[in-house]
Symmetry: C2
């Protein structure tokens, strides 16, 4: 924390949480970052992006962060001028509290769309949060950013950069409106490595494509999706890195991707109403991104997802979903495996196909679908969950 804790910590950054809106749970998080912290971010591609997303995009230009404020009661999306003003007030409040410029404050919000947020209450709570901030408060922070999540989501990794071991910590929230680019998904990742903002941004983009942009719960994309990666530079001194391709960053990149996939999987496992975790691997596509789009067409198909909920080995619906993806696929070379068992190849069901082992796999909690579309070398993996009565129950009633 600024001026108070320059000491080495295995948990870079200091976080704290407070409750404003909901009784029985906290809904405001403050993360305080050491001076000199660099920052990168990826955001929703929605053209209806929330006021906090607009604010963060502007803040990234300087690439420095000293505080992150997250409110999980109100998304501050589609709130017009009032919403913009609420963000400005919050940033000013946090800057005053932490001792930095408003442009070094990053803000994320999630919750109901269309109601201006209680900025004054948020600002009033910040000094208390700042006093309570501690490197050990990650659980509380992960809990504070939850909405319909049923469990708090966190992950940690270490990686060596030129012999020095740095730490990466992350927290995230789901759990509906989850689709690439990126869903009502917030994630905050902190490392004590020293990495310039432009390099950090490339590392984040790459890992994001194979993690948060490769999951889907319901195909709906939030106005508020935010992933922020902050590097405090307060870990053990390591070799200076000035480009993303630096071989010294190889382990860090791998561990960052692993941590982000871990968080992404937690979001899917906690998908609204989810009973099953589904891994969809697409090979033989025209490119990696084509493979990802085919995987998402399968992962977003209500008919595929309900079949999985019903434990029905209905691979015909996988064929349907590949067909509707809009990507190149060769019907007469299509190959499908479920639970590792070959079901169809060359555009038809396997001669003498025995459904028994596949039916048994469908009864497990972790479902694996592999598809080869037979046109190229593009590969991608996408993760999703099933579509259940629970999803309907949560979303036909939510908003209180």
């Amino acid at each position: 924390m600024a001026g108070r804790s320059q000491a080495r910590s295995h948990l870079p950054g200091h976080t704290t949480a407070s409750g404003i809106r909901y009784k029985g749970r906290t809904d405001l998080m403050l993360a305080v970052l050491d001076p000199g912290t660099t920052v990168a971010g990826v955001f929703t591609r929605s053209c209806m992006a929330s006021a906090p997303v607009d604010w963060c995009r502007a803040g990234l230009k300087k690439g420095r962060a000293r505080a992150i404020v997250v409110n999980s009661g109100n998304s501050n999306a589609f709130t017009g001028r009032k919403g913009k003003e609420a963000v400005r007030q919050t940033a000013q409040g946090a800057a005053d509290t932490v001792g930095c410029k408003p442009g070094e404050v990053f803000i994320a919000s999630t919750g109901v769309i269309g109601e201006p947020p209680p900025a004054e209450k948020i600002v009033a709570a910040l000094p208390g949060l700042h006093r309570a901030a501690s490197p050990a408060a990650w659980d509380a922070a992960a809990t504070a950013i939850m909405t319909t999540d049923t469990f708090a989501k966190g992950a940690t990794r270490t990686a060596k950069i030129g012999g020095a071991r740095v730490v990466i910590n992350g927290i995230a929230k789901g759990s509906g409106m989850i689709a690439p680019d990126m869903a009502t998904m917030l994630a905050f990742i902190f490392t004590d490595a020293a990495i310039p903002p432009r390099v950090l941004q490339v590392l984040l983009n790459d890992a994001n494509a194979r993690s948060f942009n490769s999951i889907t719960v319901d195909g709906d994309t939030s106005t508020s999706d935010t992933v922020i990666l902050a590097a405090t530079g307060k870990g053990p001194k390591h070799k200076k890195v000035s480009r993303a391709g630096d071989p010294h960053l190889r382990e860090f990149r791998a561990k960052l991707e692993s941590l982000m996939q871990d968080l992404a999987h937690q979001i899917v496992r906690d998908g609204e109403g989810a009973q099953k975790f589904v891994t969809i691997t697409v090979a033989g596509a025209a490119s990696e991104s084509a493979a990802r789009r085919i995987g998402l067409a399968i992962g977003n198909s209500p008919l595929v997802k309900t079949a999985i909920a019903g434990e029905d080995a209905n691979w015909g619906r996988v064929v349907m979903a590949v067909g509707k993806s809009g990507e190149k696929a060769n019907r007469d070379k299509l190959k499908i495996k479920i639970g590792g068992v070959l079901v169809a190849k060359n555009g038809a069901v396997l001669p003498g196909y025995d459904e028994a082992p596949v039916a048994a796999h469908m009864k497990t909690r972790d479902i694996a679908i592999e598809v080869d579309v037979g046109v190229g070398k593009g590969r991608a993996t996408v993760w999703t969950c099933d579509l259940t009565h629970g999803y309907i129950a949560i979303n036909a009633d939510y908003r209180s």
Copy 2:
């Protein structure tokens, strides 16, 4: 019917139905068409199209039809060489029965994907169907093509072409895997007008864009979607028409569109698990097709559809869906009406917005959502239904 019924009928074409697979319901339809009948068709855009779709596309090149065979027990999709052979056998059987060329037989199938269909049983049933064919069997025909439909779908219109009154009849089936381009949707439309195939195709394409391609139940696109429009030319003699823009066709075009919208609405009302019928009107888009894509993004959003199921006036989810559509929209000019009541404009909720009348509208069966995205003059209307526990129940269990 060939050689037997050249007489004028208000129901152009003769249809009949038989049962092969399911006890308690028929699942095979034969429509017999007078010599000289012209034909047009539109089909799924899935790259996994079924064998019957391949067959029909080829048949359209000659533009003549004498018989349509529809089987609703098995889609004959993803069935490889066996599926192709089954189609050929069926066409040959129908040609022998009716007395025409196999290329004048059109075939559509719907049902389970991936199992070769019982072609021999179908062929064996055709002579009996042919004997029973009657201009009065439309109800039976509409029933024979049903799968999970809960009611048979038909519509009729008349239109004047240059003073002569012609008839248009149509039947259709839904009711899941319904999304534009075009869903497991089969529709067969018959008129006694005399219209050359190329003109007929243009009329069908235009009406299709504003009917079957403007509905969605679940966003899933079938491998088997087929709409066939056949013109027997056996109605009252009318002025010859040689181009789609002929002013004499104006009323016919309007009535064809009206009939196809009627059938499309019936499909949506019978959408799997549907409790509400939703009309989404998008204005202010960059083009008509952009407006349609925005409407479909709203109509396909699980969060919008579950909110409607829950009778929740959650217009924030409409904002979210516009944002994810990928089409141009001006957040700060966005306007939303629900049930005719202005809810939001200029990118924010209406000052003093009173939810009461909107909440009352949400409790009705027919829901109207209007959106103006503030960038252009493109308009389109899309129809959908809500997403309910019923959809999950039907699709987590279907496939017997």
